[in-house]
């Protein structure tokens, strides 16, 4: 009985079989990449805000401390977005006629809140707490980056769980002296690991990696 398939079909079969594996692997790789892409994580994506508030100008240029506006950061899970009143503390005196600031004045006048677009948005099943981090030697810039150089704030880090665990598993890589927490321009020293280990023991840091630390 003669061959039904020509000899060359063997090649086709091999290509198809191995190709399937590569295609599946490629698919997984693509999904893996997609889940970590900034399209999903929104890392480095600038958002339009109702008022083009510049952290570069306020925190960088004017040197306003983070806590002037984010008052709850040392005592609460949330850092707190300032009420309009905080803006008006200064802007009732300076730039009080600026058309850019009209939405702020309107908010204060009409008692209607300014609706900011959330930049750092964790999933609803994640419970992050700012106070426990800033009170234990983890600086604002470690997660948020050089906010003082951002005209419009974007998300510096991926905020994926693997990113959280990077630090929770090895806090010595990121810890800094408590006095430097709010220093936005802080640069890690060359002996970070050595200093980190010293601070971890001095601050008695025991970062938790159990699920209920963040999920509940």
């Amino acid at each position: 009985m003669s061959q039904i398939f020509h000899h060359s079909t063997n090649v086709l079969a091999r290509v198809t079989l191995f190709g399937a594996i590569f295609a599946a692997g490629g698919g997984v790789w693509a999904l893996y990449g997609l889940a970590r892409s900034s399209w999903v994580t929104q890392q480095h994506v600038q958002r339009d805000q109702p008022i083009p508030f510049s952290h570069q100008h306020h925190a960088g240029g004017m040197g306003v401390d983070c806590r002037y506006c984010h008052t709850a950061v040392e005592s609460s899970a949330k850092a707190g977005i300032p009420p309009t009143k905080t803006c008006m503390n200064c802007h009732s005196q300076i730039w009080s006629d600026s058309p850019t600031l009209e939405p702020v004045r309107a908010s204060f006048r009409n008692d209607t809140a300014i609706e900011w677009v959330r930049v750092h948005d964790l999933p609803d099943f994640v419970y992050f707490n700012h106070s426990v981090h800033v009170n234990n030697g983890f600086g604002c810039s470690t997660c948020h980056g050089r906010i003082d150089q951002m005209p419009l704030v974007h998300q510096q880090s991926s905020l994926l769980m693997e990113w959280c665990l990077e630090c929770h598993r090895a806090p010595e890589r990121f810890v800094r002296p408590k006095s430097e927490v709010f220093n936005i321009a802080y640069e890690a020293p060359a002996d970070q690991l050595e200093m980190g280990r010293r601070l971890v023991s001095e601050y008695q840091l025991k970062p938790r990696t159990s699920c209920s630390t963040c999920h509940r």
Binding site: L34, R47, P83, P123, S131
Partner: protein, 1056 residues
């Protein structure tokens, strides 16, 4: 026809078999239902499954095709959900942030909720202006930091989307201005007549400010009348006080000082003024510590089993009508000259023994009569208490707490008479629902239409509002300013936690529409009253609407009135004193030193010592009780309360005709547990002309020849949750027999219906080891046996040595905090406050009757109710309550079977449940020997109703479909305390973390803490001789453990 005969014969045969097995009583020592006792095949099949048969199957009427049609799109898109990004969210900060508020940290405000008109102090947790949870106020005398079922559920009443939302006139929406104008017109007609046609009907009013306002109004309109009616009132207690002392006095009790307590149908433990404190004090005297059991002793004589009866050392089941003769015998036994003493045994011998025990504890005993007993029984209780020297010690009398103490029934009867005579032209019904609740023979529902103008105010549109011209939505307690007195008279302030969601008005504001200052807010009203009380400055007399404007301009803040133009230093000082007192009172929740002074009274002889006229009642006696969950019907639209299993019957979503086993057997009533619910016979209860039909339920311990009907169901117009479920017992409740009525008849209708009863759900099977008597889920003993051998409870089970494990201990050292929880079963009375507190704290959904009957209820805590003894001899029955939640086993069987590691252990010993990892295999719940895991078979949460979103605890994830959940030990509270301690560089203090169930528990039965800290309360509990764990022989090493029950029976009374 022959089918029916076959069926009847079969049923008879089965009933006979059941009876035989009951009689043999070869079952376990403790049982949860009669089916378990008899080990019916249905029960065996039921209990051996993880979920009831079919619980995990698609059983809705929709067929396979419908299912495919609905699901195909969802299935096709399901794979893509992982690739979606989160939707953009907005952050909406304050414009001006309130002082003292830190975003992300809840604030607590002291306020009050009302129970039968009496205040119960609460602390309300508020998240950025949203009240989310009620806790007890530790500084309030009634609460002492605890709360009860109704108080915990009040938060859902606030956010109930079915609350009435607009002022209605003949069904048309009107403005407040239109209502004020209409009231002005009423006053213009009524003022010249002195208010002769004006009637105000309220429930019990204890608010001093509101009472003053009504009295002022009556002074301006002297012919107007104020009536009060509540279906569950203290009329009998009031009349009893008049009989005994000649004046209506209030009685409250100090259980802490009582060694021997006799309750004559008084359920002091479940609801009513003072009940939370009573339970705390009572339980305090039952917590056995160390090797000697020194505890109080409780006797309860009652017909319908109550919570107090369930934990009594001796419960004497008898018809309600027989309690009086029993009380007379006890009174005679302590040496009082009374007639009508019960002569028949065993009641007479019980009474003699009780009397001897009471007499042996003069000044440290307590006799308490229930609201359901006639005035003579209350008078007898007073006389016995006086004779034993208890007055001023365990029993305290004060002036009435209610602002104007009246007999509610008389008051309503007078109103109906005036209505029938056409004397009423304007009727205000404020907060009450008399069309549904008034005794039918008074004819209120027919007479109400004789009033020319009817105005109703209430939280819901109800049976009464639909008969009224005007309906004004009432403001909820958490939306109102106000004041009210607690059981001892302590004035409790109410402050609003949120602006009225639906523009509701308080009772004071509605009545304010009749005055010249209709825009005075509740805040003005209560502050003006207390300013006048404190400063002594008499406010100007009340001006009626339409009168010339008052001299001082009405200022919305209400502050200008008392401040004269030229500041008088004395007045200024008084005002400053008031402001200080007000701020203090707002912070504390109570106005200090406002408890009513104790009265010294002596009992006067009277007709009550004579034997009562013999009742010629034969047949069945009906006992009326407010429903333990929906009370008189006002909470019927509250899904939490509907789904909460009743403490003793474990029925959800409806009421039933409760009866004892012998009565049921005589009638041929049969209840059968199946996969789809409990099937039971329907019976018809007839009293005179009136008859109602409802499902029969056999309740062990119920007095025979009596049936209990719970009030509050069968509401025609309550809301989407509560309308049209259960049966209405009010039509049988005549004014001459409000609490029990003899001469009724009971007949089986032949119809069988389904009840959603959870008594057999989640039963821990103990069959395998019962023979070896090594597995005792429930451990109980008597004080006598305990004193002889304190280890008796410990020895009922075995605990494998810690070395008996494949895991190495150093892998899980638990050397930091190790959380554990212990439940004292001697303190627990099964009141369910923990269950509702847990629902509120942890965003637990309501699933509905159909789902409950399939064993899909979501409560993280269940309270297992066990009986022991012979159901044929109700006095021999012993009842125990055992709350069961996740045990947080150190060797957790659930963890090893999870394929996706969605349930894992943390370093503090918590068994974590990770919702976002769970894929819903349910292997974990299949492997849980305690049956404490709950699965979201459907999307049970309401994700769309806006008001319910406001209610949720933001600290806890809202779970979706297909996810397993269970008790977390309130991990959100642990985390908060841990972070706070970490920020302050200190360890977590003992007692700093309270789980929601622990905080709510009125009995203080639950203790939570660090088992590694030898000084902690939990560590001490764990070293008690009474301490034991459930199923420890499985080597699960549970962190939730129990303290076994010790009862203190009187050796003189030999029970079976």
């Amino acid at each position: 026809m022959s089918d029916a005969i076959d069926r009847t014969t079969r049923l008879r045969a089965e009933a006979a078999r059941l009876r035989e097995r009951l009689e043999a009583t070869s079952g376990p020592q403790y049982w949860k239902s009669l089916n378990e006792l008899a080990r019916t095949p249905e029960f065996e099949a039921f209990v051996n499954r993880e979920f009831p048969e079919g619980a995990s199957e698609w059983q809705d009427p929709a067929g396979r095709r419908d299912f495919m049609r609905v699901m195909s799109a969802s299935l096709a898109l399901a794979g893509l959900t992982a690739c979606t990004k989160q939707p953009e969210e907005k952050i909406v900060p304050y414009v001006k942030q309130p002082e003292g508020l830190v975003p992300g940290r809840p604030l607590l405000f002291a306020s009050a909720v009302l129970d039968r008109g009496y205040a119960r102090g609460v602390l309300v947790e508020s998240h950025e202006g949203r009240p989310t949870k009620l806790e007890g106020n530790p500084e309030h005398p009634d609460s002492l930091g605890a709360s009860d079922v109704l108080g915990q559920a009040e938060i859902l009443n606030l956010y109930d989307p079915d609350r009435s939302q607009a002022i209605l006139n003949l069904g048309e929406i009107r403005t407040w201005g239109a209502f004020v104008a209409a009231m002005k017109a009423v006053v213009e007609v009524q003022a010249p007549l002195g208010g002769a046609g004006l009637r105000i009907l309220t429930e019990t009013v204890t608010s001093p400010a509101l009472a003053q306002q009504i009295e002022d109004l009556l002074r301006a309109l002297p012919q107007a009348k104020w009536h009060q009616f509540a279906p569950v009132s203290a009329d009998n207690a009031r009349a009893g006080a008049v009989l005994a002392f000649g004046e209506p006095v209030e009685t409250y009790y100090r259980f802490e000082r009582a060694d021997v307590v006799l309750s004559l149908e008084a359920d002091f433990a479940s609801s009513g003024p003072g009940s939370v404190r009573y339970l705390r004090e009572f339980a305090k005297r039952r917590k056995v510590s160390g090797e000697r059991a020194e505890m109080n002793r409780l006797y309860v004589a009652e017909s319908s089993p109550s919570l107090a009866g369930s934990v009594a050392d001796h419960r004497f089941p008898m018809p309600s009508s027989a309690v009086e003769a029993f009380a007379r015998a006890v009174a005679a036994g302590v040496g009082l000259a009374v007639e009508g003493v019960v002569a028949s045994r065993p009641h007479s011998s019980w009474a003699a023994a009780v009397a001897r025990d009471l007499a042996a504890h003069p000044g440290a005993s307590l006799v308490i009569a229930g609201e359901s007993q006639p005035p003579a029984v209350h008078a007898l209780a007073h006389a016995v208490n006086e004779k034993l020297g208890n007055l001023g010690r365990t029993v305290v009398h004060t002036a009435p707490v209610a602002a104007r103490s009246v007999d509610h029934l008389e008051s309503l009867a007078e109103l109906v008479k005036d209505l029938k005579e056409g004397k009423v032209s304007a009727l205000f019904i404020l907060g009450a629902n008399p069309v549904h609740t008034a005794p039918p023979d008074l004819g209120f529902a027919d007479a109400i239409d004789r009033a020319a103008l009817r105005i109703h105010s209430g939280l819901h549109e109800d049976e009464t509002s639909e008969r009224c011209h005007w309906h004004v939505p009432a403001a909820h307690a958490l939306e109102s300013w106000g004041d009210a007195r607690a059981y001892d008279g302590t004035v409790t302030l109410q402050q609003p936690l949120i602006a009225p969601l639906y523009g509701g008005r308080t009772t004071g504001e509605v009545l304010g529409a009749l005055t010249a200052r209709p825009d005075r807010t509740a805040h003005d009203l209560v502050r003006e009253y207390w300013r006048a009380r404190v400063t002594g400055v008499v406010p100007p007399p009340l001006q009626l609407a339409g009168a010339p404007a008052p001299a001082a301009p009405a200022s919305p803040a209400g502050r200008a009135q008392a401040t004269p133009a030229t500041p008088d230093p004395a007045v200024a000082a008084a005002n400053a004193r008031f402001e200080t007192l007000w701020r203090r009172a707002l912070h504390d929740g109570v106005i200090a030193d406002t408890a009513l002074p104790e009265k010294t009274l002596s009992v006067r002889p009277g007709d009550w010592t004579k034997a009562p006229a013999a009742r010629a009642a034969s047949g069945i006696e009906i006992v009326f009780r407010p429903d333990p969950n929906v009370f008189d019907g006002r909470f019927v639209n509250n899904g939490w309360l509907q789904e909460l299993p009743r403490p003793l019957t474990k029925i959800t979503w409806e009421n039933a005709v409760l009866m004892g086993p012998a009565t049921a057997a005589r009638l041929g009533v049969r209840t059968e547990e199946t996969a789809r619910g409990s099937w039971t016979d329907t019976v018809e209860v007839a009293l005179g002309e009136a008859r109602v039909k409802g499902p029969a339920f056999v309740l062990p311990g119920h007095a025979e020849d009596c049936v209990t009907l719970h009030l509050g169901y069968g509401r025609r117009r309550a809301g989407r949750v509560g309308s049209g479920i259960g049966f209405d017992a009010y039509p049988l409740r005549r004014s001459d027999a409000l609490w029990f009525a003899g001469g009724a008849t009971l007949a089986k209708t032949g119809e069988r219906v389904k009840l959603a009863c959870t008594q057999d759900h989640w039963t821990i099977e103990a069959e395998a080891d019962r023979a070896a008597s090594k597995r005792h889920i429930l451990r109980a003993t008597t004080a006598q046996r305990y004193n002889e051998h304190p280890e008796v409870l410990k020895e009922m089970g075995e605990e494998p040595p810690r070395s008996l494990t494949l895991y190495r201990d150093e892998e899980h050292p638990y050397n930091g905090n190790a959380w554990g929880l212990a439940i004292d079963m001697n303190a627990c009375v099964g009141c369910n406050a923990c269950v509702v507190a847990c629902v509120s704290e942890n965003n637990i959904p309501v699933v509905g009757k159909e789902q409950v009957s399939r064993g899909r209820e979501m409560h993280w805590i269940r309270v297992d109710r066990y009986y022991s003894g012979d159901p044929g001899q109700p006095e021999s029955l012993e009842t125990h309550h055992q709350p069961v939640m996740c045990m947080h086993c150190e060797n957790a069987p659930c963890e090893v079977v999870c394929p996706v590691a969605a349930t894992t252990h943390n370093e503090e010993g918590l068994n974590d449940m990770v919702y976002n990892r769970c894929v819903g295999t349910r292997y974990c719940s299949n492997n849980c020997p305690y049956k404490v895991r709950r699965f979201n078979f459907f999307l049970y949460q309401d994700w769309t109703t806006p008001s319910l979103k406001l209610m949720r605890n933001p600290e806890v994830s809202v779970r979706s479909r297909g996810v397993m959940e269970k008790c977390t030990y309130c991990v959100q509270r642990i985390t908060r305390a841990r972070i706070d301690a970490r920020s302050e560089n200190r360890p977590v203090k003992d007692g700093e973390i309270q789980t929601a169930c622990q905080q709510a528990c009125p009995a203080g039965a639950i203790v939570f803490g660090d088992v590694n800290d030898p000084t902690s309360r939990i560590a001490k509990q764990r070293s008690e001789p009474r301490h034991y764990g459930l199923l420890t022989e499985l080597n699960t090493r549970p962190r939730t453990t129990y303290l076994g029950a010790v009862r203190n029976p009187n050796p003189e009374i030999a029970n079976g």
